[in-house]
């Protein structure tokens, strides 16, 4: 929203995608280095244990403490804390904005004074921080954060992706269908998670299959959730009535939105289409290399 032109706004997510693509290297390579170092005990690297167990989340802090001398150690820990804090601050801000603007002001109490909404926003912030602290305790049950993150994504993002895709590209999609599709997608994720077991997690209702890792379980959960959400939304769209006219959906659905064209005078490598193709090509190449 702070972009200075339409091309600038379209470029932003693409520029963001570039470093994001190399994130797995940052996540995986230190872990692999630590594995290699731990297999030769004479190097003297021992992971800080959590009551006797190896704590994989502590790999980076442990290696920082082990290899950084005074001076750089302070910088390393500062950088680590700064990235945690900025990530958390960003998410909490997004939470209170979405809650106050899009839910509270639009549906619960419209037309109140700015002071009132400011107060609500402040309470939403406190609530958001409390929820994230609670989530930290849940995450502590998983032997690494990546597993927990993928599980959350499987429950929340996978069905949401189907809903967004249909909503953006298919103008017939009705609001009711989207709502029930999303709900049943999340329910399907919960059902799949409680019927399968991996690393001792899930399987409250039964045990149909066992996955070799929590990650595999999360990915299958995501697939089921997406498919159920997609199918239910499409089926219900045919059964319910579209309440919105084409005019209401202008700017929201792709086929009803006026296409934007690149303004002249943009250098070729700054054109969004060119960048998208390049970034897509790099990510496909990386996927094939690291299959």
């Amino acid at each position: 929203m702070a972009a200075n032109s339409m091309a600038g706004a379209r470029r932003t997510p693409l520029i963001g995608a570039l470093p994001k693509m190399f994130l797995p290297i940052l996540v995986i390579v230190p872990g692999m280095i630590a594995m290699a170092l731990m297999s030769s005990p004479d190097k003297g690297l021992v992971l800080i244990g959590n009551n006797g167990q190896t704590d994989y989340n502590m790999i980076i802090p442990t290696m920082l403490v082990h290899y950084y001398p005074t001076g750089l150690l302070g910088l390393g820990i500062t950088a680590l804390m700064a990235s945690f804090m900025s990530g958390m601050a960003g998410n909490v801000t997004a939470f209170n904005t979405v809650f106050t603007y899009d839910i509270y002001q639009s549906y619960i109490r419209p037309g109140k004074s700015d002071d009132h909404y400011l107060k609500v926003g402040q309470f939403a912030t406190i609530f958001g921080v409390a929820v994230s602290i609670a989530a930290a305790y849940v995450a502590a049950n998983f032997n690494n954060i990546m597993d927990f993150l993928q599980l959350i994504f499987a429950f929340v993002n996978a069905p949401l992706f189907a809903t967004f895709m249909l909503g953006m590209f298919w103008k017939k999609t009705t609001g009711n269908a989207a709502f029930w599709g999303l709900l049943s997608g999340t329910a399907a994720a919960a059902l799949h998670y409680s019927l399968t077991i991996a690393e001792g997690k899930g399987g409250w209702l039964g045990q149909l299959t066992e996955y070799p890792s929590g990650m595999a379980q999360s990915f299958y959960t995501a697939m089921y959730a997406w498919t159920v959400c997609f199918v239910i939304t499409v089926v219900l769209t045919f059964l319910t009535k579209q309440l919105k006219t084409d005019d209401d959906l202008r700017g929201l659905v792709y086929s009803l939105t006026p296409k934007t064209y690149d303004e002249p005078g943009v250098v070729w490598y700054e054109k969004p289409v060119v960048m998208a193709v390049i970034i897509g090509a790099i990510s496909i190449t990386l996927t094939i290399i690291f299959w």
């Binding site: 290899y67 950084y68 001398p69 750089l72 910088l75």
Partner: protein
């Protein structure tokens, strides 16, 4: 456009880089301190690299701003 994000980033890197470089210079002969970093004066090198990264970060927006005035 009053605030350019590159200026604070450049300043931060230069200031931290200078601190680290000086700390590295003062501890040039402290082999005990750098034993854990496999004998390299990693403070000095990181500090220099941070200054090298920070300078263009700071100077490029300042130059373009001067051009506009």
């Amino acid at each position: 456009m009053d605030m350019d994000i590159r200026i604070p980033i450049g300043l931060l890197f230069i200031i931290l880089g200078i601190i680290l470089t000086f700390f590295g210079l003062f501890t040039l002969n402290d082999t005990e301190l750098y034993a854990r970093a496999l004998g390299r004066n990693i403070n000095l090198w990181t500090g220099i690299l941070m200054i090298i990264f920070g300078l263009p970060m700071l100077l490029v927006p300042l130059m373009s701003r001067r051009k506009k005035l």
